[in-house]
C-alpha cells in the first residue's frame, strides 16, 4: 500500500471519529470555546498532541507548533527530568497544562485522547517510539533520520502500512513554499535550467565544542543505561556516536540529499565517498565527508557532489545547487543563500519574471574602482551570468509548513508531503553514502534498495 493510499485509508481525523474520541475522553467541556496563548478560539478541529523529545530539535518543533491554530499540547515525554521541567514550564507559559512522562510507553498507556504524536527523540529511539505510537492508533510526525539503521527505518514504513496511520517524516523542505515553487514551477514547469547535468550541495559548520549540562541535572547511570545511553556525555552529544545516530551525513546531509532525490525525482544509481574522523578526538562518527552520487535522469546522467564539513564554515553556508545547460538554481532554507543564474546563451527569462516566479537581482552599484569587474583574465572564461532571485517568501518558522501539512492530513484535509515510504528513499541514499565512506569503494544502488 502506498503512502497515498495510506493517507486515504487513514482518512485523517474524520468528524465522526473525532467526536467519538472526544466523547470517550471527556472532551465535551474542552470543546467549549477555549483560547490558546495566541488568542485563537479553538474549534472542533483542535488536535490533542504529545511531543516526545524535548532536546534542541523538539523545542524548535514546539515553537513552530505553538504558532499553529488548533494544536493543543496535552503531554510531553523525555527521559531527562531537566528537559521535562523545561517543557512543562514553557508550555504553561503558552497556555497549556501538560502531563510529563519519562517513558513513551507509559504515556501511551495513560493518554487516551491523543490524536497525534510528534517524535523528536534521538535517532535510535525513532523507530521504537514511532512504531509504538502508530500501533497505539496515533498519527505520527517523526523527525528525520527515520532511524540510525536501515532495518529501523524499514520497520517504520511497514508499521505505517499495517496500521493505516499517517507517518510524516521531518524533511521540512518538502513543505516549504520556496522549495515547492522552485521544484514544481521553475524546474518542472518552466524547465528553467535546461538539461541538468550536475548538482552540488553542502552544509559546512565551524568547529564547535561538545555540549555540556548543568551538574545538578545529570541523570544517574542506571537511568541512562535503562534507555541505552553509556554516560551523560554521550547522552548530550549523541549525534557523534554510532549507536545513537548517523553522524553529520545523517544529521545535516539527510535534508540536502533528500532535496537532490526529490528535485531529480529519482534515486541515485551509484555512490562514491570519502570521509573520516579528522578532528574531534572524542567522537566516533566522521566529522568531514565528500560524496558523489550518479543519477540516471531521463535526459541523461547527472552527478551530484555533496559535502558536509564540521570543522570549517567555508564555502558559503548550506545550500543545494542544481546546474543545467541554461541556468543554475541554488536553494537554501536561508533565502540569503538562494540565487538563480541564467547562462549567457540561454533564452530570456522575462516571461517567468512577469509571472513572479523570478525577480531580477539588483545590479551591484558600480564604484570608481570596479570598472573592470567584468573583465576576463582568461579568454576561455564564460561570460558573467545574469543573476536572479526567488521572490517567494516564507513568513513562518521553517518547520511550520511541514507540521501544518501533517496536521491538515490528520484532519483529512490533503495528503502528506513526506510520508515515510517517500522519506525512506532519501534516507537509503544517506545510508549508501555512509556505506561508501566505510568501505572506501563504489557502491552500486538498485531501484529495489529504495523500496521499504
Amino acid at each position: 500500500m502506498s503512502s497515498r493510499e495510506t493517507d486515504a485509508k487513514a482518512g485523517g481525523l474524520g468528524r465522526r471519529r473525532f467526536l467519538k474520541t472526544a466523547g470517550a475522553a471527556g472532551l465535551t467541556l474542552a470543546l467549549a470555546p477555549l483560547r490558546s496563548a495566541y488568542g485563537q478560539t479553538e474549534s472542533a478541529d483542535a488536535l490533542n498532541i504529545a511531543l516526545v523529545g524535548l532536546g534542541a530539535q523538539g523545542r524548535v518543533l514546539m515553537d513552530a507548533m505553538l504558532k499553529i491554530p488548533g494544536v493543543r499540547f496535552v503531554a510531553i515525554c523525555d527521559i531527562w527530568p531537566y528537559a521535562r521541567t523545561y517543557g512543562q514550564r514553557y508550555l504553561k507559559k503558552n497556555g497549556f497544562e501538560v502531563r510529563a512522562y519519562e517513558s513513551h510507553r507509559e504515556m501511551l498507556e495513560k493518554e487516551k485522547d491523543l490524536h497525534a504524536v510528534v517524535v523528536a527523540s534521538p535517532d535510535f529511539w525513532h523507530a521504537p517510539i514511532t512504531n509504538d505510537c502508530l500501533r497505539a492508533g496515533h498519527h505520527v510526525y517523526c523527525e528525520k533520520m527515520m532511524s540510525n539503521t536501515i532495518e529501523g527505518a524499514r520497520s517504520m514504513v511497514h508499521t505505517m502500512r499495517e496500521t493505516g496511520k499517517l507517518l510524516q517524516i521531518g524533511h521540512q523542505r518538502r513543505s516549504n513554499p520556496r522549495y515547492l515553487v522552485a521544484r514544481n514551477r521553475l524546474l518542472n514547469e518552466a524547465h528553467l535550467l535546461g538539461r541538468i547535468t550536475a548538482a552540488n550541495a553542502q552544509w559546512n559548520r565551524a568547529v564547535s565544542a561538545d555540549l555540556g549540562w548543568p551538574n545538578h541535572t545529570a541523570m544517574p547511570a542506571e537511568l541512562l543505561a535503562k534507555y541505552g545511553y553509556s554516560d551523560m556525555h554521550q547522552f548530550r552529544n549523541l549525534r557523534w556516536f554510532k549507536k545513537y545516530g548517523g553522524g553529520p551525513l545523517s544529521d545535516l546531509g539527510a535534508h540536502q540529499i533528500d532535496i537532490l532525490n526529490w528535485f531529480f525525482d529519482v534515486s541515485p544509481s551509484t555512490v562514491i565517498a570519502s570521509g573520516g574522523k579528522d578532528y574531534y578526538p572524542t567522537h566516533e562518527w566522521l566529522d568531514n565527508a565528500m560524496v558523489i552520487y550518479e543519477y540516471k535522469l531521463p535526459e541523461g546522467m547527472a552527478r551530484a557532489f555533496y559535502q558536509v564539513q564540521t570543522t570549517t564554515s567555508a564555502g558559503g553556508g548550506y545550500y543545494e545547487q542544481f546546474m543545467g545547460t541554461e541556468g543554475t538554481l541554488r536553494m537554501s532554507e536561508n533565502p540569503k543563500y538562494t540565487q538563480i543564474n541564467r547562462e549567457a546563451a540561454a533564452p530570456p527569462w522575462d516571461q517567468w519574471i512577469s509571472r513572479h516566479l523570478l525577480a531580477a537581482a539588483k545590479a551591484p552599484a558600480k564604484g570608481d574602482d570596479d570598472s573592470s569587474a567584468n573583465d576576463k583574465v582568461d579568454a576561455r572564461e564564460t561570460a558573467e551570468l545574469a543573476a536572479y532571485y526567488l521572490p517567494v517568501v516564507l513568513n513562518k518558522a521553517i518547520h511550520q509548513p511541514h507540521l501544518e501539512n501533517f496536521f491538515n492530513a490528520v484532519r483529512g484535509k490533503g495528503t502528506l508531503n513526506c510520508p515515510a515510504d517517500e522519506a525512506f528513499k532519501s534516507e537509503m541514499a544517506v545510508f549508501k553514502a555512509i556505506e561508501a565512506v566505510e568501505t572506501r569503494s563504489l557502491v552500486t544502488c538498485h531501484p529495489s534498495d529504495f523500496i521499504a
Binding site: 513554499p177 515547492l180 515553487v181 514544481n184 509571472r355 513572479h356 525577480a359 521572490p391 517567494v392 517568501v393
Partner: protein
C-alpha cells in the same frame, strides 16, 4: 518682416521653441515629480498558469512604485552624504535648497510648458541647472556635469528663441 520683432511669425522658430518648451517643461516636471516617488514591497499570492493561487500557497514579494508627499527626497542619500562633506556646500544653504528643489522643478516645468512668463521661467530653470552643476563639479561627477550642460544649452537656445514664443498663457 523683421527678425527682431517680438512675437515674430517665423513658423520654424516658433515650432522650435515650442518643441524646446515641451521637452524642457516635461523634463523638469517629471524630474520633480519623481522626487516624490518611492517603492514598497507587497506580498501577493503566486498564481499558476491558469491564474489561480499556486497549490503551494506561496506568497511572492512584488515591488510597487508609489507617490506621496512623505516620500519626498531631493537627491539620493548617497549623493547627499557626499555633498555633506564638501566645505563649499554649507548645511545652511543645502537644507533649504533640498527643501525647494522638487517643487521648483515642478513649478518651473509647468511654467515653461504653459508659457507663463516664459523668458523668466527659462532663465530660472537655467540657473537651477547651473546650481546643480556646481555641486556635481565639487564631487567630480563629470558625467552628470555633461548631462546638465546639455540642459543648460537647450535652455539657452530656448531663451534665444523667446521672441518667437506663441501658444503661451502670458506674453512676456
Amino acid at each position: 518682416m523683421s527678425e527682431n520683432t517680438p512675437n515674430s511669425t517665423d513658423s520654424g522658430s516658433t515650432l522650435a521653441l515650442l518643441v524646446l518648451r515641451a521637452w524642457l517643461g516635461m523634463r523638469a516636471v517629471l524630474t520633480g515629480v519623481e522626487k516624490f516617488s518611492d517603492s514598497r514591497t507587497l506580498q501577493v499570492p503566486l498564481l499558476d498558469a491558469a491564474g489561480k493561487p499556486d497549490s503551494s500557497g506561496a506568497m511572492v514579494e512584488v515591488t510597487q512604485k508609489f507617490y506621496s508627499l512623505h516620500s519626498y527626497h531631493a537627491i539620493p542619500d548617497s549623493m547627499k552624504d557626499k555633498f555633506a562633506n564638501e566645505p563649499l556646500l554649507p548645511v545652511f544653504l543645502t537644507t533649504p535648497y533640498y527643501a525647494v528643489l522638487g517643487w521648483a522643478l515642478i513649478a518651473l516645468g509647468i511654467a515653461v510648458l504653459l508659457g507663463i512668463w516664459t523668458r523668466a521661467s527659462l532663465f530660472l530653470m537655467g540657473l537651477l541647472y547651473v546650481s546643480l552643476t556646481f555641486g556635481l563639479i565639487l564631487i567630480k561627477q563629470d558625467g552628470g556635469v555633461s548631462w546638465l550642460a546639455i540642459h543648460v544649452g537647450l535652455v539657452a537656445l530656448a531663451l534665444t528663441l523667446t521672441k518667437y514664443n506663441r501658444f503661451a498663457l502670458t506674453r512676456s
